[in-house]
Structure formats: C-alpha cells, structure tokens
C-alpha cells in the first residue's frame, strides 16, 4: 500500500540538484568566455513545460542566492500570467525577494523584451529563448549550423537578408533580428523586438540567453559589442512608432503595445510601464534617425601611491 510518506518530497534549494546547478554554472562561464557561442548543457526537466521558460529557469535558479532580488517579465509585463507562475515557482523554491522595479532587481528573467531602463554592472538579465540558432531559418540541420558557426561561414545568412531586401524592399526580419557579437559569432537575441537590439551593445549588465528545449546557453558579457547585421546602404531599422504616444503616460520613445478596446478604437500604451517615469531609453531609428545613446564605460581613476 502507498503510505502518504512516499509522496512527501522536499525539493533542493532552487529545485535543481547541486551537481546540475554546478554544471550549468560552468557552462555559463564558458558562454561568457566565448561571447555569442551556443554552449550545449544538460537542461534537466522542470515542472514548467518546455517552451514556457525552462531555459530561463535553469539559468536563474543556478545563479540565484538568498540575497538576490528577482524580477521576471513576459512580453515586458510583470503581470503576465506565465511570469506570475514562474515568479511564484522561483519564490517557492528559493524564498528570494521579488520585485517589479527594474532598478531594484539583481536578477531579471525575461521573455521577448529587455527592460527600457539601463541595467547596471550589478544586474544579470536572463532571456528565455525558444530557438537559439540564428541560422535555423537558412539551414535546418543542427549538425551543419554548428559547422557553419565554427567556420564563421555566414554567407547563407547574408544572402537571406539580401533576398529579403530584393523581394520586399526591406529586411523583413521582425523580432529576434540576427546580430554579430564581439565581431565573431552571429547570435539570435532571443526574439526581442528590434527596438531592444541596440540596448544589448556595450551594456554594463551580463546578458544570459538560455534555451531549455534546445539545450543551449549563450551570453553577451558586459561591455561587449553587439551589431545587428546590416548592409552599407541598407540599414537595420527598429520598429516604427513615429508620432505615437502612450495613452496612459503621454510618453513616447518606448516600445508600444497596440490595444484594441473595441473593433474600431485603437490606442497605444508603453510596453514597459515602469520605464515611463525613468530616463528615456537608448534607441536607434531608421537611417540613423538618432544615434544609439549608450552609457559610457566608467573611466577607472588612476591609482596613485600615497
């Protein structure tokens, strides 16, 4: 007979067992050391479905400690149902503090957005990635894409961008725009909108990209150059929100959500509402409309002997 005891199960801190956490942290270090390179990792099953943020959880739960303040957003929103569920899970498994305030968080997990607020050296942002392979659209076999990365053979990618321009008059890649990291690996920045892509470059925070189902981790370390793929004469463009203001805050210069209150009435609100009160985001517009405004790397004071 079954005794009730049999099903009483206590979970390890952060759900994942220590050996596996250690393995994930080692793979993360490797990913930091080789910016943009996809590191295969064990990717244990989580009590959250594949494709719903398991990769993000692996990274977050292997990094998190008792002093961390955790924030999680989905599509930019703290209140999105999946974000709520994952927040509850992380909180239950670690007892960590959670926050909605981007600035107060030490560890941020996100799906499909990078917060507009500039993150600092003291923050790590973990992206949930559905498909880590930027070349998948041009080469379906993993075996071959790994080879292409190894040889930096990105010809097919360039051709596909060129073809898009010829067919449609623009590079039609929407979210997850391919970028080159530190002048070497081509990476997909998870499907964040193009709006967020300039915010990855030379940022003070560590970006961790984690794809649970595909079992790959990659990183953009702090102060690393991230360039969207573009041609000399056909430039990378962010989403068009010209002349659009937020119906709630009146602000602009932020990624907007399109809201339909009825079949005809449409309005826009800022996707990341926490940013509306803070500094304007770094953005780049079409054809160099406004240059990337990125934080300066702090100059180290010369060390003088007394």
């Amino acid at each position: 007979m079954i005794t009730a005891k049999k099903f009483q199960h206590t979970y390890n801190y952060g759900f994942i067992d220590e050996t596996t956490k250690k393995e994930i942290r080692r793979k993360l270090l490797k990913a930091v050391a080789i910016p943009g390179y996809q590191v295969p990792y064990s990717s244990p099953e989580m009590p959250i479905a594949r494709g719903w943020g398991t990769g993000g959880l692996h990274a977050s739960l292997s990094l998190i400690g008792p002093d961390d303040v955790f924030k999680i957003i989905d599509q930019g929103s703290d209140a999105s149902v999946n974000a709520c569920n994952l927040r509850d899970f992380v909180k239950r498994m670690t007892g960590c503090k959670t926050t909605f305030d981007t600035g107060a968080a030490t560890l941020i997990q996100t799906r499909h957005r990078k917060p507009e607020e500039i993150l600092t050296e003291r923050q790590i942002i973990v992206f949930q990635v559905p498909q880590p392979e930027p070349l998948r659209s041009v080469e379906r076999y993993e075996f071959k894409t790994r080879q292409m990365h190894a040889e930096a053979d990105y010809a097919k990618m360039w051709v596909s961008l060129y073809e898009s321009y010829v067919k449609f008059g623009a590079i039609m890649q929407a979210a997850g725009y391919p970028v080159r990291v530190h002048g070497r690996y081509i990476m997909t920045p998870s499907p964040i909108p193009r709006w967020d892509v300039p915010n990855l470059s030379m940022a003070p925070c560590l970006h961790v990209f984690s794809a649970g189902r595909e079992k790959r981790l990659h990183c953009v370390p702090p102060w690393t150059k991230v360039e969207p793929l573009e041609f000399e004469d056909v430039k990378f463009c962010v989403e068009e929100f010209r002349g659009i203001v937020c119906a709630a805050s009146g602000g602009d210069r932020a990624f907007m959500d399109e809201i339909y209150e009825s079949e005809t009435a449409r309005k826009y609100v800022m996707n990341d509402p926490t940013s509306s009160t803070k500094s304007a985001p770094a953005t780049v517009r079409c054809n160099g409309f406004s240059p990337i405004r990125r934080p300066r790397r702090p100059r180290r004071k010369p060390f003088l002997l007394p």
Binding site: I2, K6, F7, H9, N12, I16, D17, T19, P40, S42, S43, P44, E45, P47, I48, A49, R50, G51, W52, T54, Q75, S77, A79, S80, V81, N82, A83, C84, D88, R111, H112, R113, P130, Y141, E142, F143, G169, A170, M172, A174, A175, G176, P191, P193, R194, W195, R213, K215, E239, E240, G243, I244, F255, M256, D257, E258, R266, K267, Y268, N271
Partner: protein
C-alpha cells in the same frame, strides 16, 4: 486586456487552478484509488512510465489521477519529478536473455526454440464493445479470477527457463551483420549532456526509449510506406521482467529490483556493399518500459532507418529524435498559447511599412491602413 490584465495575473492563475480542480471532481463520484488506476490502467501506466522516463507505477498512477487522464501532461509531470532525483548509479547492461518471459513471438519463423508464447495480448481479439463491462462488479471480477485460477494446475507449472533468442539462429549462420561496424559506440546519457549530431547509437536509443509513442509510430509508419524503405520483420518481440543490477561502492554487483520491459528485434536487409554483394540482415533494436509493443517495434524500425542513410525524414537522426521527443514537442506546441504580442507587433510594424512602401510607389499615399493608423493616433 485578456491575460495580462495589470496585477490580475496571479489571481487569474489561482482561480484557474481552483476551477480545473473543481472540474476534476464536480460530478461527485467516488474518488478513484491509486491502486485501482495502477491495476486497471496497466498499459497506460506503462506508456507514461516510458515517456516519463521513470519506472514508478504508483507515481504514474498518481499523476494520471491528478491530470484527469491526460497522457502528455502525466508523462511530463513524471519527467519533471524524475529530474529532482539525483542519479546515484548507472545500471549494468540489462540482460534480456534473463527475462521472465510473459509473451514472446517471432514473425520470422513458424516455430522457434522455446516456442511462440502469445501471452497477454488483444492482437487476436475482435474489437467489439463489451456491454457487460458496464455492469461489472467486484463480485463478477472475483468470480472470473477464481474460475481462471481454478483452471490452472499449479502442479504442472514448471519453472520458466530463460529462453534463447531467435536472432541467435541467424547469427550462428552468419547471416546477421552489423549495419555499420565502425559507428560511435560511446555510451552517453542524454539527461546529463545535450545531444549532439551525429549522435552515438546509445544516445539515439535512449531518446527513442523516452520518445512519445504516437510520434514514433507516425515516423516508423512513414518508413514502411516508402519514405525511407525499411522493410522490417519482427525477429523477436518479447515482454516480461528483467533484473536490474548496479555495482555498489565495493564493486559488487547487486540486484536492485526488476522492471517490466518490451523488447523488439527487427530484422531487415542492409545495403549491399560493392566488395561484398550479399544482402545480409541487420537488426533494429527497440526496448521500452512496460508492455508497449507499438513503441518497441517502431523504435526498432527507426533505429534501423536512422543508420541506413538517405534523404527520407525517418533516416535523419535530427528529424526523428528531436520531433518524437514528446515532452518537448508537447511543451513547445502549447507555448503558442502564451502571449506573443511584442513579437507580433514587430512583424506588424514590418508589414505596415511594406504596405506603405507599396502605396508610395502607386502614388496614392494617405489611404492605406498605415496612414490611417497614424492619423488616428496623432489626432
């Protein structure tokens, strides 16, 4: 604002959880006991244990109850539970020759040493509804079991010997060959390291053993219908219990229990080599938890197909292994239910700009959707 109502997310989840629990019990029928599920849904439990990759019949019964019988969800939950258990040992190689055989057939020969044992199977039953089951009572069950056991003459039951394999006959005659003798024989554990391609056969077989039965069947069927041309014969299909042994800290091998497994050895021709024009036979191997013959057979076909090389879907390791992984495909196909409005907005922006470009070209700027949208918002 649907499923991202500000601050509403947590309440919505709590309510949904409560509601679905209500749906589970709202008819107020007698709760099913775990022991009942375990005993009466034997094949379902086997399937869940196989796909959940954990041999734990009671836990499988529990998750089945918890999920109102959803097989995908149950296998997934079992897998997630499995991931919380530390792996302490790797077992010694299972010896299926030692199996306590409950069922064993070969379609390659009429008679085989040890005999064909049909065992518990519905293969040759007529698939007609049994109305009497609707009226089944504990009394009628007991009467049947007593009558069945009464017919058995326990004095004539001899100890079941271990039964040799059918393929031994072919091996002895030299007709059975390795499909590709120089393939990677490294043993890897896909739960500890991500699969890389080309994957060693051990990884491929492990993934097949954890794969979703329906997915395996679809691809194995495609191989039989001509997308990959594996014309396999069931060399031997056996089901029963095998002992599991591990090596303890002192290096002694100990039996830790028995698991019920189904094993399929599928025979098919190998590609003829130029220097050796004999179409020798080779094995495709399938082994899975419990009694799940469809799965074992399809594993056998796909194991063979993936090693044969060719352009058909079933001949590509990446295609077969990634897409039959039930837990992952279940999760990912269902993730489409998550909000995607940011990425969708990004595509919409592209689309509207494309429309605008087209209108500009035509010279009728000011009538299109994009222009209308702008007018509306700036107003």
């Amino acid at each position: 604002m649907g499923y991202v109502a500000t601050k509403g997310g947590e309440d919505a989840i709590a309510n949904a959880n409560q509601l679905v629990e209500f749906y589970r019990v709202k008819e107020r029928t007698t709760p099913i006991e775990i022991a009942q599920i375990q005993a009466q849904f034997r094949l379902l439990i086997d399937k869940i244990m196989g796909e959940g990759s954990l041999y734990a019949p009671e836990h499988a019964a529990l998750v089945l109850k918890q999920n109102e019988g959803d097989v995908f969800e149950s296998a997934f939950m079992l897998r997630a539970y499995r991931a919380t258990l530390q792996r302490r040992y790797y077992s010694e190689t299972l010896a299926t020759r030692e199996m306590f055989v409950r069922r064993r057939i070969s379609s390659a020969f009429r008679e085989i040493p040890g005999g064909q044992i049909l065992g518990p199977t519905r293969d040759y039953s007529q698939r007609l509804l049994d109305g009497e089951l609707a009226e089944e009572t504990l009394g009628s069950v007991e009467a049947f079991v007593a009558a069945f056991e009464g017919e058995l003459d326990s004095s004539s039951l001899r100890a079941v010997p271990t039964i040799g394999k059918v393929i031994d006959l072919l091996t002895a005659e030299g007709l059975l060959r390795e499909a590709n003798p120089d393939e990677n024989r490294r043993v890897v554990d896909v739960t500890r390291e991500a699969i890389k391609f080309p994957a060693p056969r051990s990884a491929a077989l492990q993934m097949l053993a954890r794969a979703e039965t329906g997915g395996l069947m679809a691809l194995a069927y495609s191989a039989q219908r001509g997308f990959g041309s594996v014309h396999a014969t069931v060399g031997e299909l056996r089901m029963g219990e095998v002992p599991v042994r591990v090596r303890d800290a002192r290096g002694r091998v100990r039996v830790i229990g028995r698991v019920r497994v189904t094993e399929a050895e599928m025979i098919s021709k190998i590609k003829v080599q130029k220097k050796d024009p004999v179409p020798y036979l080779s094995l495709g191997y399938g082994l899975c938890f419990g009694q799940n013959e469809t799965k074992a057979i399809c594993m056998g076909i796909l194991d063979r197909a993936m090693r044969s090389g060719g352009d058909a879907p079933c001949q590509s390791q990446e295609f077969v292994l990634y897409h039959t992984e039930g837990i992952e495909s279940y999760g990912f196909t269902n993730h489409l239910k998550l909000p995607h409005y940011v990425t969708f907005q990004s595509s919409l922006s592209n689309l509207r700009q494309a429309v605008e470009r087209k209108e500009k070209k035509r010279g009728n700027l000011g009538f299109g959707m994009a222009a209308a949208a702008k007018k509306e918002t700036s107003a």
